[in-house]
């Protein structure tokens, strides 16, 4: 066990995977000599050489297109997109090619590329360094999409991604790269304790990030990524008001853990779904619909969404825009007292 932050956990996973398999390649803008703008790939080029840790030209479509070609041929390519805001030049390669390769070839051409990219706001990045694009990828069949919230899951899910026969997008919560809350680092968090060796976290399984105490009105929160920490904070505050939160960290957005979602929703009958992305057709809309479809008779209150607003991501007013613990708390109160 070591104490790691998410960056270190990702870096550690990549070191393990590259050491274990000569056919693992890392590519992206500034990932090599520099070690990535967030330092997630530091040391890899020194350890594994320029042929396997590639500083690419500045073209996301080329990064993903080439990674696809490598994967078709038999190399496991781990592509970094520097910020998920810059993934859109590669959108066609991802949604029309990567997602559909296995299917359109009748199963002849699996294409297990791994794409890592930092998502989300809270780092004073304005609208081009803050977006949360998950719903734009899960809408296209064929992509596995995971969204870890902590170092343990970040490493375990990345190692699962590397072993997956499917293309996997790992959406890394950049706001909590170095600590789970503004200023607080991962040292004191149980999920900051990370085994140094190989292990995996299964894709498709949610985790209970906070259990019910039995004390107060039970409410479910369904969320993922950096918002898990915002919701933890809200849950702690809510507890003092007699609201007892079961916090489900979805972790895997596609496939999703319907069993865990339904179990919690049926248990509490009161559900808040939180995501940072804009509301309109965001991931929370899907989860809200699923809960409605599977748990209608159990619902004591409308499923309530806490999301980003339907505007581009602002700079100065970022913390007015970002869904914060206070907004989650308001939703918890509404849901807990409904009826």
């Amino acid at each position: 066990m070591a104490t790691m932050n998410i960056i270190q956990a990702v870096n550690n996973a990549l070191h393990l995977a590259m050491a274990a398999d000569d056919n693992v390649v890392v590519l992206g803008e500034d990932v090599g000599k520099f070690g990535g703008v967030f330092r997630a790939t530091v040391g890899l080029q020194a350890a594994f050489g320029e042929d396997r840790v590639i500083d690419t030209p500045l073209a996301e479509s080329g990064i993903i297109g080439a990674a696809i070609g490598m994967a078709l041929y038999g190399v496991t390519a781990v592509a970094e997109i520097q910020f998920s805001d810059f993934i859109f030049p590669a959108y066609d390669q991802i949604v029309n090619e990567l997602a559909k390769f296995r299917y359109r070839s009748g199963g002849e051409y699996p294409c297990p590329v791994v794409i890592r990219t930092p998502v989300g706001g809270g780092i004073r990045g304005g609208h081009y360094h803050s977006q949360s694009p998950e719903s734009l990828f899960v809408h296209h069949a064929g992509l596995v999409v995971v969204a870890p919230s902590n170092p343990y899951d970040a490493k375990g899910l990345l190692l699962s991604a590397l072993e997956s026969p499917d293309p996997v997008m790992v959406l890394e919560p950049k706001r909590v790269y170095r600590g789970p809350d503004h200023g607080k680092n991962w040292g004191s968090h149980p999920k900051g304790q990370v085994p140094e060796g190989h292990y995996t976290v299964p894709i498709g399984k949610a985790a209970i990030a906070r259990e019910l105490t039995g004390d107060g009105t039970a409410v479910t929160i369904l969320t993922y990524g950096a918002m898990v920490h915002t919701c933890e904070k809200a849950a702690a505050l809510a507890q003092q008001e007699g609201i007892d939160v079961e916090l489900v960290d979805l972790r895997s957005l596609m496939p999703y853990d319907l069993e865990a979602i339904v179990a919690s929703a049926k248990k509490t009958g009161r559900v808040v779904v939180a995501n940072e992305a804009p509301r309109m057709c965001g991931y929370a809309a899907e989860i809200t619909s699923l809960v409605m479809e599977h748990c209608f008779d159990w619902l004591e209150a409308p499923v309530t969404r806490v999301t980003g607003y339907d505007t581009p991501f602002p700079y100065t007013l970022e913390f007015a825009y970002l869904p914060d613990a206070g907004r989650v708390l308001t939703a918890l109160r509404t849901v807990a007292t409904y009826g």
Binding site: G62, I64, G69, D92, Q93, N96, E97, E108, G142, P255
Partner: protein, 386 residues
């Protein structure tokens, strides 16, 4: 390179960029007379005959398929008429271990490299034996056993993919090149630029084969680019560039062989531009009469790659009208028989809709499959099993 270069430390020190040639490479003149006897001598006569037979057969398949489509027996078809040399040539020139990324106009790559003929026809119908499981439109086949990558409709996406495969082969120490085919229209997409530039930096053992057939659907070459030739773009990526007569199958073979040798020797990619002409319509959805002249079509019909090779073979006494007719008849019978068989096969099973989305079917797709099965069974579905 420039008079003041000494003042600029980071100006690249690259001394000699690979050659970009705009001399049109020919081995045979349009009348079949020999331009490069030395090269012809390297190709066994039996192979020349096989190549001609294959291209002629392709012409027959294309003609028949277009007719069948008009009769409603096919949903869609797209011919390579006039451009046969651009798929049979490269297919002949490369090795079994090499990788191919065809666009939609290179059936010769499939058929020459040994994709089973019936499977190719099954793809046109999308039946249960279609290797693509009836998931894509006709002409979007896949042939893993032949190292031919599944065809996509979006154009240009294949180019950086080819760069990646070529790099992977090099990394794994394989002596394999990857070749990608696309039209001159497609060369306007961003992915063209990105794919060739990456390949230049990585010295990927790749061949980028641009079939310049004069049109992108209705859009003529002069509206595609102001450059005189696509091959001039090789300058901008520091890679080798070759202009070849795309209606001269032997010149195409030579261009691809040279490019493969260059790549295998570790020198990186080549951009080949093959000048040719799309004699047929873009596809069965198109009618070219409104956007190009009969005169132009007639001019190019004369330059047809089949005519040229046939003229050469006839001069050598290797071909005649009887052989021609026999080949046409056999090919015609072959395609009609295969299509009849293809039509007799059932649709892919319902669950194929939900297979291969992922390696394993996740729970939500199990549920959707059940729903679809129940709906079709209810008789209230628009779908009628075929």
């Amino acid at each position: 390179m420039s008079s003041a270069a000494h003042t600029l430390p980071t100006v690249s020190t690259l001394q000699s960029a690979p050659t970009v040639s705009t001399e049109l490479l020919q081995v045979m003149a349009p009348d079949g007379s020999v331009v490069d006897a030395a090269f012809i001598a390297t190709i066994p006569e039996a192979d020349l005959i096989r190549l001609y037979e294959a291209m002629l057969a392709q012409r027959v398949y294309d003609d028949r398929m277009i007719k069948m489509q008009r009769q409603g027996r096919l949903g869609f078809y797209l011919a390579c008429t006039g451009e046969e040399a651009c798929s049979y040539g490269p297919a002949y020139a490369l090795e079994a271990r090499d990788w191919f990324y065809p666009a939609y106009r290179e059936p010769g790559i499939a058929l020459w490299r040994g994709m089973p003929f019936q499977a190719w026809v099954d793809n046109m119908v999308g039946n249960c034996d279609d290797p693509a499981k009836g998931r894509q439109m006709p002409v979007h086949w896949t042939a893993r056993a032949q190292n031919i990558v599944s065809i996509s409709s979006p154009v240009g996406t294949q180019i950086p993919q080819c760069t990646g495969s070529a790099y992977a082969a090099k990394l794994m120490g394989h002596d394999a090149v990857s070749i990608c085919f696309f039209g001159e229209g497609t060369s306007s997409e961003g992915d063209f630029h990105v794919g060739l530039n990456f390949a230049g930096v990585w010295k990927s053992p790749a061949i980028f084969f641009c079939r310049n057939n004069g049109y992108a659907i209705s859009t003529p070459f002069e509206k595609t680019t102001a450059a005189a030739h696509i091959v001039l773009r090789a300058h901008g990526y520091g890679i080798r560039g070759v202009l070849v007569d795309g209606n001269d199958v032997l010149a195409v073979i030579k261009a691809v062989r040279d490019a493969a040798d260059w790549a295998r020797a570790g020198n990186g990619p080549t951009l080949i531009e093959a000048k040719t002409y799309r004699i047929a319509a873009h596809s069965t959805s198109d009618d070219p009469s409104s956007y190009r002249s009969r005169e132009e079509e007639a001019l190019w019909a004369e330059l047809c790659p089949l005519k040229r090779l046939r003229a050469y073979l006839e001069t050598k006494g290797l071909w005649d009208e009887t052989k021609e007719q026999a080949c046409v008849d056999t090919s015609s019978a072959r395609i009609i028989a295969a299509l009849t068989i293809a039509e007799s096969k059932p649709h892919p099973a319902l669950d194929t809709v939900f297979d291969d989305v992922f390696a394993e079917r996740p729970a939500h797709l199990d549920a959707q499959l059940n729903a679809m099965t129940a709906h079709v069974a209810s008789g209230e579905s628009d779908y009628r099993a075929g």
